[in-house]
């Protein structure tokens, strides 16, 4: 159903509050995005697409590329991981139930329900294997079950790490294994419930294998659950793989995901979901290299020293330290997947660049995101504008699916998790 109509039209008629007209998202791409004035709504627009499924259709791949379903019928696959033998792990997951602290959250829960899959996630990891190499998984096993809102996966040798929303679990993994039977052990607890607003804990191992990095999102849009709920959140954690001890590697990142190491410089990169309800074009989501010890502003400011008036008490001392991120992706695209391309199967054009999975906007009149884009890189930095790689997720006011996590398989094909569509897409030349 058209929630936008319900909220926005009624509000516009009665209160004229739907805010400024959206600007061209192209103006908010790159190192120096255009940042309009803050507009605080009376009634924020909530525009979510109704899911109609794929019914045999596929997304549209960029010119020169082809796309096919690698696996379908999955329950909310949100992130992917490719094991050394080519097996693909698909994480079927969903967030924990959100507590209702305010009347607003009753409405929000209902709207989010429209935007997300009606299929209940299974809270497990499915192993997908393509035994005959035809680009379609012909074997599926339940790799790990009874997890707690899992998201990130990292493998170092035989040590497999799964980031549940409340902690990093360690399992022993043998090459070729299709199911993990032995119970894991908790390496490091992560901030989870009872409030667990941004629950996806992205995970990556450092190139030398000694450290794990975990993305820990904020516990609110902008501290409306109190600053106490934000302890050790909105940060990238660095975890010692041997002891499980952690420190905050970087802070002030509202919801960091897609932790990946840039192949040339070995710098850690993330995509970050910035804050909502300051207008259709604030604040642009971004991708950035993560500098050790850096503070990226949240909640006190954005893009450096742009102060957010909603945070009290304010912290001018921290605002002064805030650094702007490297590369804006435009507002509310909701980037959740990031992977660098080191193969050549898709063509030399893509080598060394980054794919970004944009889950798509929900609080903006005009949809933004709902696609997979490619950002070319040179010398470890973005070197051009994003190109559409996979589109066609949205069709007018309906959607077929929504892209989330990305991975590159051993043949160099790009894999895209589509949570609402219940599909893993495989992009080839």
């Amino acid at each position: 159903m058209n929630v936008k109509l319900l909220f926005c039209a009624a509000a516009a008629a009665a209160l004229a509050s739907c805010g400024p007209a959206p600007i061209d998202p192209k103006r908010q791409i790159g190192a120096h995005p255009y940042l309009p004035d803050i507009h605080q709504y009376l009634v924020p627009p909530m525009h979510v697409a109704t899911n109609i499924g794929w019914n045999g259709a596929t997304p549209k791949a960029a010119l020169g590329l082809a796309v096919k379903a690698f696996a379908s019928g999955l329950k909310n696959p949100r992130s992917l991981y490719v094991l050394p033998n080519g097996d693909v792990l698909a994480v079927e997951t969903d967030g924990p139930p959100a507590p209702i602290n305010r009347p607003k959250e009753i409405v929000m829960a209902w709207v989010m329900n429209q935007a997300h899959s009606s299929v209940k996630a299974a809270q497990r990891i499915i192993l997908l294997r393509d035994t005959n190499g035809d680009g379609v998984a012909d074997m599926q096993t339940v790799f790990l079950d009874n997890l707690h809102s899992p998201f990130g996966i990292a493998l170092v040798g035989n040590d497999l790490y799964i980031a549940n929303t409340d902690g990093v679990m360690h399992y022993h993994y043998q090459d070729g294994q299709t199911q993990i039977m032995t119970p894991g052990n908790l390496l490091t607890p992560l901030p989870g419930g009872p409030i667990d607003h941004h629950w996806t804990k992205s995970l990556a191992a450092s190139p030398d294998g000694t450290k794990l990095y975990a993305g820990v999102g904020s516990n609110s849009n902008i501290t409306e659950n109190g600053i106490g709920a934000e302890l050790d959140r909105a940060a990238v954690w660095e975890i010692d793989r041997m002891t499980g001890a952690h420190r905050l590697f970087a802070t002030g990142m509202r919801n960091p995901n897609g932790l990946s190491f840039e192949p040339q410089t070995h710098a850690l990169w993330v995509v970050v979901n910035e804050r909502d309800e300051l207008g259709p074009d604030l604040v642009p989501d971004y991708m950035t290299s993560v500098k050790d010890g850096a503070f990226y502003g949240w909640p006190y400011s954005y893009y450096g020293q742009h102060v957010d008036p909603r945070v009290m008490p304010q912290r001018p001392d921290l605002v002064a330290k805030a650094i702007p991120p490297d590369y804006a992706l435009s507002s509310h695209v909701a980037p959740l997947g990031l992977t660098f391309y080191t193969g050549d199967a898709l063509g030399a054009h893509y080598s060394g660049g980054a794919f970004v999975g944009e889950h798509g906007s929900w609080d903006r009149g005009e949809f933004n995101g709902y696609k997979v884009v490619f950002v070319p890189f040179a010398d470890g930095k973005p070197s051009g504008v994003p190109e559409d790689v996979l589109t066609g997720f949205v069709d007018g006011d309906k959607d077929h699916g929504r892209p989330v996590g990305l991975a590159v398989d051993n043949s160099g094909a790009l894999l895209v998790a589509d949570d609402v569509g219940g599909t893993v897409w495989r992009v080839t030349r």
Binding site: L15, S17, Q40, Y41, L42, V43, N101, R102, P103, K104, V107, S220, N221, I222, T223, E224, N225, G226, E277, P309, R310, V311, M312, P313
Partner: protein, 152 residues
């Protein structure tokens, strides 16, 4: 039967319903003003949450108070003939519009859900309802509009 009392007023077991219902939004909105002030002074979000719930609860009961009040007002010529009844209805309508706006303001996140607009609207709503509340007592005790008639 007492003279000058209304026959058509909505009642439960002989008692008029509107004054009972109207007291609840008034109490809720007054509470919201107090919790808004507490948030303004402390920046503790839980106070702002209380305000949002109090506004929502007040508005919910206000829906029923309006329905019952409108019946009292529309179905009795003598009520409509009173200037104070018109002022009472108009004042309360204004207070409710402000409370609805205030609910939307309170649905914002963190500080600006209260300061300054939320706090101002909460104060204005209570001020108006203080006046209309006084008018309401006028209607009940002075004009005996919805006083109990059948018990005498």
């Amino acid at each position: 039967m007492a003279h000058g009392t209304s026959r058509t007023t909505v009642r439960i077991v002989g008692n008029p319903l509107h004054p009972l219902l109207a007291a609840i939004p008034f109490a809720c909105f007054t509470g919201a003003l107090l919790t808004d002030i507490a948030y303004w002074r402390s920046a503790d979000m839980q106070w702002a949450n209380f305000s949002a719930w109090l506004l929502a609860a007040g508005l919910l009961v206000a829906v029923f108070a309006v329905i019952v009040g409108l019946i009292d007002f529309l179905f009795d010529r003598r009520v409509r003939a009173l200037g104070v009844a018109w002022m009472y209805a108009g004042g309360n309508a204004l207070a409710l519009v402000l409370a609805i706006l205030n609910s939307f303001i309170h649905s914002r996140d963190a500080y600006t859900s209260v300061v300054p607009m939320g706090l101002i609207l909460s104060a204005l709503t209570v001020l108006i309802m203080l006046v209309t509340g006084w008018m309401g007592w006028e209607l009940v005790y002075h004009n005996r509009i919805i006083a109990v008639e059948d018990r005498t």
